[in-house]
Structure formats: structure tokens, C-alpha cells
Amino acid sequence: AETKSHFRLAWTIYAGWMPWDYGEASGIIKKWADKYDIDIEIVQINDYVESINQYTAGGFDATVMTNMDALTIPAASGVDSTAVIIGDFSNGNDAVILKGAGSLADIKGQNVNLVELSVSHYLLARALDTVSLKERDVRVVNTSDADLVAAFTTEDVTAVTTWNPLVSEIMAMPNTKKVFDSSMIPGEIIDLLVVNTETLADNPNLGKALTGAWYEIMQTMQGNDVKALKARTMMAEASGTDLAGYDAQLASTKMFFKAKDAVDFNNSKDLINTMSKVAEFSFEHGLLGQGAGDAKFIGIETPAGVYGNKDNIKLRFNPAYMQMAIDDKL
């Protein structure tokens, strides 16, 4: 690519991504973009997968997504992507829920409704591991996230795996039981801001402006002063709930309000372990593409080392910009 001044960022509704909407509405993003003399368009997309597809096809320069989707969609399509900001990891936001009283082991033989090949699918696989079950012990039914709540009210749906705000909606119904959630695999479902590596290399100002804006938003929304409450109320309304509901969702999200925490997480050895598990899961499900001979087909670069093929690095965890936020260099 080349240097340019107009950029597009796509986001979808999820507790950890609502700050982008607030940043847009409150003018914080414009402020930071102006500072670096660029122009950033923030676009909300209703359908999560569609937003990543658009990013992969080149329609967006930056998009929010989870670590697994970053590997299986853009990276597997040969689009070299960089995780510029680690916003949070799911700490209970994703869950396996059964109808009636029971335990995880009872899931054997049931239909499980979830968004197939998403992090929910991954979470289910990890959950099944803990009770020595295999995926073939259940029957996975692909169900659109927008309809999971309605689906759960019907009789033929007995088990679901999904994320917030859907989890809290479902848990509000009588006769439901959360049998596994992401707090039992902390740090494995990570929410990222991903930027096209080439675009980023040619336009470092984009990374700086986004990072600067993000941490200003983080600072604003944290705590219980009037400004923070107002910010979180706006986010709550945009995601279709109220402040209490949104705070409940945040409670099961490990937000990295401080850049330092995010950088530490980024640099730790755990990240590369997590990515190796994700890569193996993705390979088993054919998500790495037909060319992939094994889970290590695609290289993943982290500060603690490279997982997989060093000659085919397509996903990079680069803490440089978050580090600038710590160092006040933005």
C-alpha cells in the first residue's frame, strides 16, 4: 500500500468493543485523528462475521475481532494482520448453558446451538475436554447469534454456547444453568483491534491515533464519576441494554484499562500457548484453509516467540503502540 490519510474501522456490538462507538460519539477519536492529521471513519456492522470478511477483502483498514477469528479469517486468507491493541479477554463473558439442573457432563448426546466455527465453538471444545468428552459426543447446530435467545425459548433447544449480552439474556430466563464459562480458561478468548500490517507499516500514525484514543476512552469510562457513568450509559444504550446490564457484562470481561496490563499480557508466554491451542483447534476444523498441512502452517508472531511457520507469518501481536501509550509518546 502507500501512505494515505483516510482510514476505515469496523466494529460490532460486544461489551468490550462498545468503547469504539463511544469514542466516535464523544469526539475523542476525531481529536486523536486530527492530532496526527488523518481521518478515521468508524463504521458499525450488525453482523460480526461480515465485518471481518470486509476487512479481509480490503474494505476496512482496521477491525475488532477475537484472536481465533483473526487467525482463521484474515490470516488464513493470506492477509497479514497485526493486533495493535489487546482490549480485554473474556472472563466469563462466554458460557455453555444448559436447560434444567445438571452438570457439564450431561451435555453428552444433546444438541448444542452455537455460532459454528466461532470462539463459542472453541469454548465448547475446551469445555468438553475438561469432562473427557469429544466433539462427536454432542451435535453442534449452527445458529445465528441474533436468534440464539429466541431459539433458547423453544423446546428443542436444550444447550447453547454463546457470549454476552446473549448470556445474560438467557440466564435471566427461568430454569437455566451455566455449566462452563470462559473464566475457567482465562486469557484464551482475547478481543483485539486488528490492523492490516502493510497499511500499518506505511501509516504508523494510524496505530498511534487509535491507541491514543483507546486509552483516553478507557480512562474516561472507568470508575463511578459522572463522566464515566454517562459514558457507560451511552455504551449500554447503543448495545440495547441499560447501565446495570452493561456493568454486569463488563464484570465478566477482563478489560485492560491500563496499557501496562495489556503489554504484560501480550509479552507473556501464555499468549503463545493459547495461540497454539487455538491453531490446533482451527486446523482440526479445517479453518486454516485447504493448503494447511498442519496446525503450524500459519506463523503467529508474539514477543515471546513465533508459533508455526516462520516463513508464513500472517498474524502478529505487536505491543509497540501500547508501549508508546505507557511511555506517553503519543
Binding site: Q44, N46, E50, N53, A146, A150, T153, E237
Partner: protein
């Protein structure tokens, strides 16, 4: 008297017209009451008062976030897309349909292509559409156009081809060339069928609009329904659905009246088509 010969009187007919609606309302009220008695926070069949509250909120209170009156903002956004999509489709349908119908050379070139396109369900190529036309207004309007244009083109082509050949011959004996025949003889005569065809495709247009808005939009009736679907907020969804039905009905009625008013020669003998 044979059942087929017994016709209801005027007042009787009105009563029969309303009967099923009244029954539905009564059933809903009973079912809703029963569910709410069991679980007062049940969202599936809200009480009438919840509908009222929800509509009050959507229509007459500014949204805290954007300061907009959501129902009206959504309606305006959706109607704009719908009218653009349907309007452009009608124009394309008219021009391509008439040209295809009148000129055998053009028809031979484009007719099979249009048939092939019409066989592809637009929903299946949604992902491709978004990639080609982006996620802005264009792709939503394009979805409508791709969805209904082939139908309109084929209908108008058929209408053009089935104009009595006597008329085209007569026009030629009056010294007209192809272009004059197109604009003075064919075009005015296929306008009323165009309006009927548009009325028939309006239903599909709404479908595509909602499908498009479901995936990428920041306002619009379909967007709102899909957004709050996650929370099963029936108190908003049901009134929105009814509102869409009312809008669809009004548009259909307007088109019907327009056709009757503008083309009396078309409706004269054929009754209230």
C-alpha cells in the same frame, strides 16, 4: 340455496372482515395474561401497556444517545433506501424491458443473461455484494435492485412483446421509426403494467431491505428489529412489524390510486385491477 350463491350483505361482510382480527386480538390478550401471571418479566408476549410504552419511547422521546426520535429516523432511513431501490429498479426495468421486448437483436443478447441472473437467490450472494459494493447505502440499494430488477425487466419485456403486433404495424404505416414507436406507442402503454409489477415486487423489496439492514446498517427498521432481536424485545419488535405492514399497505394503495388516476384508459374496462 347453493353456498356459492349466498352473498353476505354489506354490514354482514364488514362484520366477517373484522371477525378474524378480533379473534386474534382476544387470543393474544388471553395468552399474554396467562404468561405474565406466571412470569411477570416474560418478554415473549408483552402486555398491551408494554407496547404502548415502547412505542411512546421509540416515537416520541429523543434517544439519549443520538437525540433522534428512533422510529421516525428508522422509517426515514428505510423508506429512502426502499424508494431508491424500487425507483431505480423500475427505471431500469422499464428501459431494459422495453428495449429488450422491441428489438430482437438486443433481446437475443441480454435475455439469457437476465434469466440466469434471476435464478440466483440474492441472499446467497449477499457476502459477495457487500464485498463488491461496500457496506454503505449503495450495497443495500443494490441488494434491492439485484433482487427485483430481473423480475421487472422480464415482466416489462413480456408486456412489450405481447402488445398486439397490429399496433406496431399500424404505427409503421403512419410513418414512424423504431424510436418514435418506442416512445409514443410502447412506452406509454407499458407504464400501467409497470406500476402493477412494482406493486407485486414491493414485498420482495421489503424483504431485501430488511435482510440488507440486518447485516450492515446503523439505522433503519430492519436494523432495529435485528438489533433488539438479541434481547427478545417483543414490545418493540411486534409494533415495528405492524408498522412495516402499514407502510407497505400505504405504498401499495398509493401506487394503485396513482395508476387509476394517471391511466384511466387502462382501467376503464378491466375493472379495479
Amino acid at each position: 340455496m347453493r353456498l356459492m350463491n349466498s352473498k353476505p350483505s354489506r354490514s354482514m361482510r364488514l362484520a366477517l372482515n373484522l371477525l378474524p382480527f378480533v379473534i386474534l386480538l382476544v387470543i393474544y390478550t388471553l395468552a399474554s395474561d396467562a404468561r405474565l401471571l406466571e412470569n411477570p418479566s416474560d418478554k415473549l408476549l408483552p402486555a398491551w401497556s408494554s407496547f404502548y410504552d415502547a412505542m411512546q419511547r421509540m416515537a416520541f422521546e429523543p434517544s439519549k444517545r443520538t437525540g433522534e426520535y428512533l422510529l421516525w429516523a428508522d422509517s426515514a432511513a428505510s423508506l429512502q433506501r426502499l424508494l431508491l431501490g424500487v425507483g431505480i429498479s423500475a427505471l431500469i426495468g422499464l428501459v431494459v424491458g422495453v428495449v429488450n421486448g422491441m428489438l430482437p437483436l438486443i433481446r437475443a443478447t441480454f435475455s439469457p443473461l437476465i434469466t440466469a441472473i434471476s435464478l440466483i437467490p440474492p441472499m446467497a450472494i449477499l457476502p459477495i455484494l457487500f464485498i463488491v459494493f461496500g457496506l454503505g447505502e449503495l450495497s443495500k440499494v443494490m441488494l434491492i435492485i439485484i433482487g427485483i430488477c430481473p423480475i421487472l425487466i422480464r415482466d416489462l419485456q413480456l408486456r412489450t412483446q405481447t402488445l398486439p403486433s397490429e399496433q406496431l404495424l399500424k404505427a409503421q404505416t403512419l410513418g414512424a421509426n423504431s424510436w418514435q414507436i418506442m416512445i409514443r406507442v410502447v412506452l406509454p402503454q407499458v407504464l400501467p403494467p409497470l406500476l402493477s409489477a412494482v406493486r407485486l415486487t414491493l414485498g420482495s423489496a421489503w424483504l431485501f431491505l430488511i435482510a440488507g439492514e440486518a447485516i450492515a446498517a446503523t439505522e433503519g427498521l430492519g436494523y432495529r428489529i435485528f438489533l433488539i432481536r438479541r434481547y427478545l424485545a417483543m414490545d418493540v419488535i411486534l409494533p415495528y412489524v405492524i408498522w412495516i405492514a402499514i407502510l407497505a399497505f400505504v405504498m401499495d394503495t398509493l401506487l394503485r390510486l396513482l395508476s387509476k388516476h394517471a391511466f384511466p384508459w387502462y382501467h376503464g374496462k378491466r375493472g379495479s385491477e
